[in-house]
Point group: C2
Chain length 342, copies 2
Amino acid sequence: MKRRIAFSLAFVLFVLPLTAFAQKTQRVAFIIHGGAGVISRGSLSPEQETAYRRKLEEALLAGYKVLQEGKTSLDAVEIAIRMLEDSPLFNAGKGAVFTADGKNELDASIMDGKTLKAGAVAGLRRIKNPILLARKVMENSPHVMMTGDGAEKFAQTQGFAFVPPSYFWTKPRWDALQQIIREEAAKAKGKKIGEFRSPASQNERYGTVGAVALDKNGDLAAGTSTGGMTYKKFGRVGDAPIIGAGTYADNRTCGISATGWGEFFIRIGVARDISALVEYKGVPIQQAVDEVIQKKLQNLGGDGGVIALDKNGNIGISFNSEGMYRAYIDENGKPVVKIYKD
Amino acid sequence: MKRRIAFSLAFVLFVLPLTAFAQKTQRVAFIIHGGAGVISRGSLSPEQETAYRRKLEEALLAGYKVLQEGKTSLDAVEIAIRMLEDSPLFNAGKGAVFTADGKNELDASIMDGKTLKAGAVAGLRRIKNPILLARKVMENSPHVMMTGDGAEKFAQTQGFAFVPPSYFWTKPRWDALQQIIREEAAKAKGKKIGEFRSPASQNERYGTVGAVALDKNGDLAAGTSTGGMTYKKFGRVGDAPIIGAGTYADNRTCGISATGWGEFFIRIGVARDISALVEYKGVPIQQAVDEVIQKKLQNLGGDGGVIALDKNGNIGISFNSEGMYRAYIDENGKPVVKIYKD
């Protein structure tokens, strides 16, 4: 009897506090990306590189702060993506590239790993922050995906302020479009109507921003936002707004945001496949992302990369392009910003 | 030496012909669906039931014929879906339901299990057979998904004849929309602007057609086509044109076409998940479809069903709705048509 009391006492004194402590310190984790592509050393000026690194760190720390304050992984994903959308540096929001007819069409998606609820928007022309609208689709509608004018009508019901399409005009993106238009005109002879151009440089295909977060409740969330592809035609939709291709989150497995040649990411179902690998084969997250990017994507001829967090906050990063703008909080709580393969 | 000659002779006489025979008789397989939903016995008149059964059998046999003639699984999927699209009985093509503003917006997708190439279209208003355009996107463009006016511009470059939007007007679908509009008007008091109606009957959410085929070369293909949801708003896109949600095909695993409450199918990534279960856990196709439909979809609160074929032509069918229009060729080469749970 005495022994049982002693045991109970020991339990109350030592084990319970440990449990409470463990709950309090559920590790938060946060990772973001600003696109993958041909970013070799020397292709960025020192000033450009500094600008990218600063903006990535700023968005990373903003998201990390809300996680530390106990807010949700959805909040962290939203705030970081919104900051990247507001920067002209990245192909999303303000910095969106132009379509063939000189317009900007923006796509985004977000997913809540706790409920498997998701929201996605495609073909927006007057919404400053597509990620905010994707979240409203998820939270305030029974739908997952809305497109074009219809999605903007929904935005009106949600009290969104519209920006004029000219908000998205930036000189570098406009120059990039004009360059392609000149090249196309020069090549026009002998081309069939409706023929497709191959991207002049790989960089045109990429450019996406994304984030994955794990909050104090152990809930995962992931989001992705993009301005699409320069000289895009025919209402083309890439992987960013496709749940399971560019974005996926499931508390039981992991959260993923992708960036790359969208068509390949849709065909493989990259984000969904990584989650399935973790679910069905129990492989560590780094192995899962490498399996899909370095093997499946590589073998199919696609390129790009992903960022991921598993349910314990372990980080997975994989890309087969030359570089990927990325930033994360390391095990010591310090921000790490990387661009090249290093 | 004599022994070696005898062995070679035996090989040429017996083993080689067997191999050739095995190649010749690669089993073809074909399965189609015409939507899932509340189809209880007695809800269809005998005439209606006969009409559905006849059209399903007709489309099934048309696809099976081209497979027997040695044509591809893509051809079989296309021909069967085209026939279902041309019938007013199903919510796809001619029989498409109306959006809230009295229009028809059609979606479709197709995937080639050999190459993992895929094509998808959403929000079409003047294309008689969306499945044909989805195939052109796959075969004649570098893209996977095109939407709205842009997709129709691409159709022009492919020589598609356009139908006037009035082609899709059918009395039953129009009456269904008017019924909902009356209900909504009656309920309008006290509703917030932009609020969503819950589907008046489950049948409104469903209605999709699809097909999965395995051809003599051992190549799988899958396709899906839909008219969406009655009283649809905001450019909503369901699972039918989402590769990995409504449609997936991979020669190494299986082909799948889904029908049901699209939002749930996107959130789970139903088609991609079934393929992953076969790939990573090696479970039989029937077990894989049951796992995803009867457990994951059911637990999340969604409903609908899938048809599937594995790489050996084994059939998987699973639905948690009351019925699903479906037809397949059985092991003896005979057509089987079913509607209810039986």
